[in-house]
Each structure stands twice: as C-alpha cells, then as structure tokens.
Symmetry: C3
Subunit: 111 residues, 3 copies
C-alpha cells in the first residue's frame, strides 16, 4: 500500500436547470477539467435568477448537478467561465476543499 | 470578471427515508434557507434508528438526500430543528465547509 | 436542544462504473463503515483507467457514486482497500472534511 498520501483539490458542484447543462460541460471541457459526473432528475427549490431587479422564485424545477474535482489552479477559470452565466440564470455553484489519492488523474493536460 | 472572491458558507446534507422529506423541507423553509436540492431514488445501508436501546439496521431502503447551502448563522437553527427528528428516525446529517460566489443568493431574508 | 456540538469526520465519495459497486461496498462492510448511500444512474466523463500505459477516456458511461462518512481512523483502511482497485479500473475517490451531530452513529463497531 505504498503511499496513502492525499493531495488537495477543489470540488466544484454546479446545480442548474437541465436545459443548460451543455453550457457548463463546455466550460469544463475547455479548461480541461479531467472529468465530471452529472446527477440528473434531481429537483429543487431556489432562486430563479433576477428579473427586472426582483428575485424570482420557483417552487420546483428539474435540475441537474455537475460535480467535478480540479486542481486549485483550474478553479478561477471555472468561476470566470460560469459567473456571467450564473448571474443571468437560475443556478448555484459551491466550492469545497477535497483531497484525492491520485492527483495526476485530475490534471489531464492530455484530455 | 469583477470579483472571483468566494464567501464561506455551510453545506448541509440530510439523508432520510423518502416519506419524511417534508419534515426536513418544512424546517428549511421555516428558517428561510434560500433553497435546496433533493436527490431521489438513492439507496443506502445504515442505521434504522434506535429501538428499545438497540441499534436497528436495515439492509437497504429508499432514501432521499436534501442538499442545502446556508450562511453559518443558519446552521444552528437547522440542527436544532432536525436533531429531535434524527434521534427518533433513521437518517444522517453532515455539515461541510463550502464557499460560494454570490452570498446574497443564499441569504434570502425575503424568501 | 442539549448539545449542538459537531464532531469531525471524513466524507468519502467513490465514483465507479455500476458493475463494480459490490467491490466497494464489500470493502466498506469489511471495515465496518456504519453506512453508505448509493447514487445510481448518474453519468460522467472521465478516465477509463490505464491500458498498456495509456490513459483511456470514455465519453460517457453509467456510473454509481457511493457516499460514506466515517471516523478519521477508518479512512486509511478504506484507501488501502480501494487503491489497488482504482488503479486498475475507471473511478475516482474524493475525501472531504465533514462533521456530524452524532458520532456514535458513524462508529458502528457492532455493525
């Protein structure tokens, strides 16, 4: 069991309406996130974006969550790529500290 | 790309049997959590609560997970609201540190 | 509302192809993780393991995610039990700091 050392990474979760999933995965592909997982058929209650300065709520909507784990240096490109989108649409983005066994698997320059 | 600053929040995940989901979402609505996401049709193995001082296990059951992200000051009301329930029923609650781009979206006093 | 104190634990998420789920749950059962939750019918893009020294990618595949929360002393046995598997197969493992209300529920020596 050579090394059980864990390497620090960032876990990013993005929850959006299902129709917009490709916008998010395109951003992840562009910055070469090494992979992501999509959770479908989830539901939620939350903000529905802003409309004429008012906060719009919807009761439930069909959502998807994209989970990715990236080296810290890829966090800013993800945030920059998604922030304008998230300001115009419903959706949330959370960042958490995570760690992984094999950092090379998450740093796919060759992806 | 004005500010990529992230703001600290708490991610709370609650895993319960599907029949009890409204108890949890009522607590979240009451303390004005700004939103939550529900994952359905998940399964699990775990505690089944306590029965006459014995820990009861079930092999698999139909579960739901509720994920919410709240400002730290809303964590205690969530824990207080759910703890008695979780002591009498099967279920788990985890808290993690998370951060978000737009803290105002998660602090919906007007919700 | 006696104590709202939270106790530190480790959240472990393992994402693998669905056919291998029992390998993972067997490891968790063996080290007496007190429980776990399985998310099915998720999809993903990522590494497909190594084949003759080359990294193999697949576009999408049917995946499952296993989520468990364990005391820190059970983390190493999980990593040791799964690392050889993850080196030969597609899959990812992330570790995050989490906290829980009831640590006894997650330390099932009697499980």
């Amino acid at each position: 069991m050579s090394d059980m050392k864990l390497h620090p990474m960032k876990e990013v979760k993005i929850i959006i309406e299902g129709e917009h999933i490709h916008f998010v995965t395109d951003v992840l592909d562009r910055i070469k996130a090494s992979g992501y997982t999509v959770f479908s058929n989830i539901s939620g209650k939350g903000h529905h974006g802003y409309h004429e300065g008012h906060l719009m709520f919807n009761d439930t909507s069909s959502l998807q969550m994209i989970l990715t784990v990236v080296p810290e240096e890829k966090l800013d490109p993800i945030l920059s790529g998604l922030k304008p989108f998230l300001e115009r649409h419903s959706g949330s983005l959370f960042v958490l500290d995570a760690s992984v066994l094999r950092p090379d698997r998450f740093d796919s320059k060759e992806a």
